[in-house]
Symmetry: C2
Subunit: 190 residues, 2 copies
Amino acid sequence: MPPVNLREAIEEYGEVNGDLLMVDRFLNHRVDPEVMTAVGIDIATWLSGRNVDLLLTAEASGIPPALAASREMGIPMVYAKKYLGPGERYTFSREVSSPTKGTEYRVEVARRVLESGLRVAIVDDFLAGGRTAASLGEIAEEAGCEVVGAVFVIEKTFAGGRELLESHGWVVHALIGIVSLEGGGVRIAD
Amino acid sequence: MPPVNLREAIEEYGEVNGDLLMVDRFLNHRVDPEVMTAVGIDIATWLSGRNVDLLLTAEASGIPPALAASREMGIPMVYAKKYLGPGERYTFSREVSSPTKGTEYRVEVARRVLESGLRVAIVDDFLAGGRTAASLGEIAEEAGCEVVGAVFVIEKTFAGGRELLESHGWVVHALIGIVSLEGGGVRIAD
């Protein structure tokens, strides 16, 4: 039986590959339903009392935690699409460079699915440099929404993302903080 | 209140754009949690009795229905990744051409997340020409797994996908069949 607890899953199945933490056995390629349900509950718990109307994430690995939380909270979620090509009309979009993948891509949300006046929470699987999440928050604000929080399953606390998001005035939370991946070992914050 | 029923959601929010059925207000961009939970239950119901070990889908729009069904069934799901670049080692992969998007891409599953001997069901949001689903099934079989069914949220019954998948010997099911999009109207099968 796989562990139902996120921390246990990381300790048992997480693998370090250079400066990447591989969690593809249970979180972002193969998805364990019990771990993901627990993640959704934890995200929903942290967001409770913030009167969130909509969860905003980015494809593809943000979708499972955002959907799990959406189900707990009974509110819709929107996943931004990522494109390499030229932009389209009727969208909010931002260019994002990804040091992990060495590419530049565009996150895009159709205007028709993000109406103004909503209280939006950003959700994603990883917070590292924070570029994708910052783009999502900027898109939400451009749409006339308020960003009432940004929640991540796993934060690399040494990668600067939290500081970037807090500089926008957004409240940031992560379910698990990774303090270090040095020497191939995962050090989880207490 | 949004409709919780898939058919009602399509009738109320589905829009026809050329030969595309746009369901991005509730299914594949903005996701309605009640509709998606109902979809997961319907997929799980159809798959019950087939002793499924794992659900296999492709990013990004296959993830919500597969995750919703995964949760109902208490089994993991794997989403294949789509890439434009060159292939990597340690993966099962197939090239897929998409007439909808006018591109060619590769669906890829890491060998480490798909062990042999599993009973696998393919899940996706749309069945049209069936190229992506056929590639997923071929990947599962290459991995030494058995394809025990292929389930789709919406099938364009006029697009030939069912015939392609059945030619592989796989059993195919769709929650909703779209008979025609001619003249900008959605005709749903009884």
